[in-house]
């Protein structure tokens, strides 16, 4: 089984023959090449071009995060899975307004329903199912975004009722996050984005053509689109778990006047638990076989491909438990 490698300390990626080594102050650790799915680099990472050659050959993406844990970018190896027919269809579904808005709404619907499931688990009343039907009347993307924003606002308000008091927050603030929950959401979301990107890389989808987000928003905006569906499942539930079980406390954050960030220890805890979640399996209803949460993201890409090829209409993944 291939796995994700999370490099937390500063160091260097080197290649000798067909093995990649991670060298840091503690020594030299081999990483068997056919065991790597993706690499997440949180420390400052130096690498030799030979190492990159090998990673490219094996089709392994490397995601880079800066000192603050923000996503910086990815080494996205030359595409090895290309389908001209699919790219044409992907672009057509963007250019045709009806087709684009259909998919955009599906992403919002999936995200909203998963948020609802998260709140339901904690028996919290919410407005999501009242706001969601307004999607039907939306004719342009900004209206869709607007509905999504209002759902999210309601959702974040309710989050405080799940969190212990010292973790409460007023609103979602990004760059820089100003309190602990915002720090956790930002950190987690950038992980999901990278995870989704790795999954897209392993399909024939082109990551730059997106539907809810504008293709120009981010280099790989399709990863933003698909992330929406998985953020409540993978990040928000994890945050509640870590905070309510007191696995994370105020000591795991670095605070300054206008920002708040996870420190090294906090990051390690978060990443470890995040990776556990990706590996956790559920029995898939349609496939009648066990699939991991990570695999669910891949299946979502497959569903999108089928929609684009016209073989089955896309329905977003919604937790059924």
């Amino acid at each position: 089984m291939k796995k994700n490698y999370y490099l937390m300390s500063d160091g260097m990626l080197k290649r000798r023959e067909n093995t990649v080594y991670f060298v840091n102050k503690d020594g030299k650790k081999p990483i068997p090449i056919n065991k790597i799915y993706s690499i997440y680099a949180y420390g400052s990472l130096t690498f030799s071009s030979q190492a990159i050659h090998l990673l490219a050959k094996e089709g392994i993406p490397v995601h880079f995060f800066n000192y603050y844990g923000y996503y910086d970018g990815s080494f996205y190896p030359r595409e090895k899975l290309l389908s001209g027919d699919l790219i044409i269809n992907q672009a057509e579904h963007y250019l045709d307004h009806e087709k684009r808005i259909f998919i955009a709404k599906k992403f919002v619907e999936g995200a909203a329903k998963n948020m609802e499931k998260v709140l339901k688990y904690y028996h919290l009343e919410n407005q999501i199912s009242t706001i969601l039907p307004e999607l039907d009347g939306c004719n342009i993307i900004t209206e869709v975004m607007n509905v999504e924003g209002r759902i999210r606002a309601d959702y974040y308000r309710k989050m405080n009722e799940i969190l212990p008091e010292n973790f409460n927050f007023d609103k979602r603030v990004k760059r820089p996050p100003e309190n602990m929950i915002n720090a956790l959401i930002s950190f987690g979301n950038s992980m999901v984005y990278s995870t989704v990107l790795s999954e897209i890389y392993n399909t024939q989808l082109n990551p730059t053509i997106s539907y809810l987000h504008e293709p120009s928003e981010r280099r790989f905006s399709l990863a933003l689109d698909l992330s929406e569906i998985f953020k409540p499942i993978l990040v928000d539930r994890l945050i509640f778990y870590l905070v309510n079980k007191r696995m994370l406390s105020e000591d795991d954050f670095e605070k300054d006047l206008n920002y708040c960030l996870l420190n090294d220890r906090g990051r390690k805890i978060f990443i470890k638990e995040y990776d556990e979640r990706l590996k956790k399996t559920i029995k898939h209803r349609e496939l009648n076989r066990k699939v991991s949460y990570k695999r669910l993201i891949r299946l979502e890409s497959y569903k999108l491909i089928k929609h684009l090829l016209g073989s089955k209409e896309y329905k977003p993944f919604v937790m059924w438990w």
Binding site: L82, G84, L86, N202, L287, L299, Y302, I305
Partner: protein, 171 residues
Amino acid sequence: MLSDSEKNLRIIGTQIHYYFICKTKLWLFSHHIQMEQESDLVSLGKLLHEKSYKEEKEYTIDNLISIDFIKKQGCLELHEVKKSRKMKKSHEYQLLYYMYYLKQKKGIENIKGVINYPKIRKKITIDLDESKEKELMDVIADIGNILDMDTPKPQRMKICRKCAYFEFCWV
């Protein structure tokens, strides 16, 4: 411009093979929605290929057909290496297609085909006769038709479980 008959011959062995297994797989593979890179069974096949008949050389012709190895014993002997006889018919037609291709495009007569099953130490010999040739022409035409249409709806079969496209088809 390619003539119809030439266009028809832009088909690779795998496509003939898939035609007899599953039309959905054939369509997806031909439109470059490929999944084989993740299939353990495909890797196993490659390994088997590498480990048996090590001294023999693989031939790829016109970037279309790839013959596991060739022997010259009075006539030209094309050899295919396969894991099991489960998909006997598709293996046979894949090899028949190679023979047909070499005859049509390279003018080589007097070709024999041998399928090797190293795991069960068996070999079978096949010949390209007129009726087989006719059948192949129909298959090739049919493949062309399938590829021109929309993705065929998958049909649930016993072999789906082991297919690299399983999740894609049934999710």
